[in-house]
């Protein structure tokens, strides 16, 4: 490499390192603050690695928000059940749209696609009134059911199913395989990469959802984590070490999920982009 090329490389790395630093500082600062004493929080120059680390801050969250662990459980329940339901409805519907012939198929598909373009805020208030009428306020059903089916997931899975050779289903039919068994034992295993991606994106958006849980829950025991975090400031005041500890609790599970599944998550996001 020529000297010029080497300098070019160095500059590239410097810029990228600088950018990465700007991206990381808020996360590092969140963690660092969560382990400081109330006194250290206000000391400048800032203390990046507090010794000893105040792990007690994490249990002190409970002094102000005793329901915080319950919110964690709520998130687990809502994200897991919601994702299972979303996958189930998507598999069944995508199968119908990709493999079955029926009256109204195309028009129904276009109606769903058109609905996908509408921003969710339009549906917010009518859906709230529906939840009131169903007497579902402050229940898991209210947090889960509106997201139990996703048009985008149906659409993505249908594309994937369409790419599976048609001959497979003829072969299965000859073997006397019924539609449902064919779907379950051949299509679903083949579509695993797509299903994993859909599931991951569903888990992430469910875990981080804010506006809907804010509206349909009342009692502290029904709050999801982002909601509990947003309302925590009202309860704990501005103790930044506690606010940051609570933030770490909300953020950490998704970061761990991302570290282990990033290939699938990134693949899913890039695929949605190439479609556009």
């Amino acid at each position: 490499m020529s000297t010029k090329a080497v300098i070019g490389r160095v500059v590239i790395y410097l810029i990228l390192a600088m950018g990465a630093l700007i991206m990381l500082v808020p996360f590092v600062w969140m963690l660092s603050t969560s382990l400081q004493t109330a006194h250290q929080v206000n000391i400048r120059p800032p203390i990046w690695i507090p010794i000893p680390a105040q792990w007690g801050n994490y249990s002190r969250i409970l002094d102000f928000a005793p329901h915080f662990p319950r919110s964690f459980v709520n998130n687990l329940v809502v994200a897991s059940i919601g994702t299972i339901l979303e996958l189930t409805t998507a598999i069944l519907a995508a199968f119908a749209f990709s493999r079955l012939r029926f009256w109204g198929r195309d028009i129904l598909f276009y109606i769903l696609l058109a609905t996908m373009m509408v921003p969710g805020e339009i549906m917010l208030i009518p859906n709230f009134l529906t939840i009131v009428r169903f007497e579902w306020l402050d229940t898991y059903r209210a947090l889960i059911m509106p997201w139990a089916a996703s048009i985008l997931s149906i659409f993505l899975l249908r594309q994937f199913f369409l790419a599976i050779p048609e001959q497979l289903s003829y072969a299965a039919k000859v073997d006397g395989c019924r539609d449902f068994r064919f779907l379950w034992s051949i299509m679903v295993p083949l579509a695993r990469p797509a299903l994993v991606t859909i599931a991951l994106l569903a888990v992430i958006s469910s875990w981080n959802a804010f506006m809907w849980p804010l509206i349909v829950t009342n009692s502290p025991s029904m709050r999801t984590l982002p909601l509990a975090l947003a309302l925590f400031r009202g309860e704990a005041g501005t103790f930044f070490e506690l606010l940051m500890a609570a933030s770490v609790v909300v953020v950490l599970p998704m970061i761990i999920l991302f570290i282990f599944m990033q290939k699938h998550i990134v693949a899913g996001v890039s695929r949605s982009g190439l479609k556009g």
């Binding site: 012939r101 339009i122 549906m123 917010l124 208030i125 009518p126 981080n208 609570a246 890039s270 556009g276």
Partner: protein, 299 residues
């Protein structure tokens, strides 16, 4: 699919497969759409939930409401402040990441982190970074001789703070989309340009940008739609929640919808405001497609 016509039995079977999805989508996506079209022209009484038709009254009220005008202005400021800057920065980073450098995946992952992170938690930590007396930002700005400013507590700075945070949190998504777009560019084009003696900047301008234009276009549309809908960030970045930033200075359209709906319990008015937002988004998207047709280079 074979060429046979659908049968009654086949249709019945298909709808059994579709039933779970259609029940959910019908109840929570399609029905509310029609209901809000109707609700925007009504007033719903707070306690009895009785509905009264009021014609265009809600829309007339919106036109006269200075808060709605402010919300519209702030929303446009936000869109203009966030979308182009975020795309430009991401484009620069994506080009660098595409230079066959070591650790490209590692860098990409770091930029992508905010995408998987709760916006509420992000806004919480930025609230702390923006803190006037002890925040990191003012501390670092002090080194370059910038006086500390009340990022969060002063109406003049609230929108700037919101925009800085939002650009930061959107870079990762943009970079992923741009990198995916770059994978589809034929390497031979670069080679040909190099042989012709084109400089790096010239290659970027004449090969990368035109061939990347579908991705850039997609990011613009998605960015504009996403920015029009900003809400949670504001709720958590500015303490209180009752007002959107100091003296409502970061009020956006969705926040306005939320305030009329949640604080005032004025369902009809809130729905009308949401409908206006939808029409604006729709117009913008159509406009972008119209402009895009002329600028975007599809193979």
């Amino acid at each position: 699919m074979d060429g046979t016509r659908p049968t009654l039995l086949g249709t019945l079977k298909a709808y059994i497969y579709l039933l779970p999805a259609l029940l959910v989508l019908g109840t929570f996506s399609i029905y509310p759409l029609f209901r809000s079209l109707f609700m925007a022209f009504t007033t719903v009484h707070r306690r009895t939930l009785e509905v009264e038709e009021v014609g265009l009254h809600n829309f007339r009220f919106l036109m006269d409401d200075p808060r709605f005008a402010l919300a519209l202005r702030n929303t446009f400021t936000f869109v203009l402040g966030v979308v182009p800057v975020a795309i430009l920065i991401s484009l620069g980073i994506a080009v660098l990441l595409n230079q066959k450098i070591r650790g490209a995946t590692f860098f990409r992952s770091i930029f992508f982190l905010p995408f998987v992170t709760s916006t509420i938690a992000i806004a919480m930590v930025w609230n702390w970074i923006f803190h006037e007396r002890h925040g990191l930002l003012n501390y670092f700005l002090g080194f370059v001789g910038v006086d500390p400013r009340p990022w969060i507590d002063h109406p003049d700075h609230a929108m700037t703070a919101l925009i800085i945070m939002s650009i930061w949190s959107r870079l990762g998504f943009n970079i992923i989309i741009l990198l995916a777009g770059m994978q589809t560019i034929d390497k031979q084009l670069y080679l040909a340009a190099k042989v012709d003696g084109a400089s790096a900047w010239h290659r970027f301008k004449t090969v990368t940008v035109p061939l990347l234009s579908p991705s850039i276009f997609f990011l613009t549309v998605m960015g504009v739609i996403g920015s029009f809908r900003v809400f949670g960030e504001i709720y958590a970045l500015f303490p209180g929640g009752a007002t959107a930033g100091p003296a409502n200075s970061a009020l956006t359209v969705v926040y306005y919808v939320f305030q009329r709906f949640w604080d005032d319990r004025n369902f009809g008015l809130a729905t009308a405001a949401a409908l206006v937002l939808f029409v604006i988004i729709l117009c913008f998207t159509l406009l972008q497609f119209w402009v895009g047709k002329k600028l975007v280079h599809y193979k």
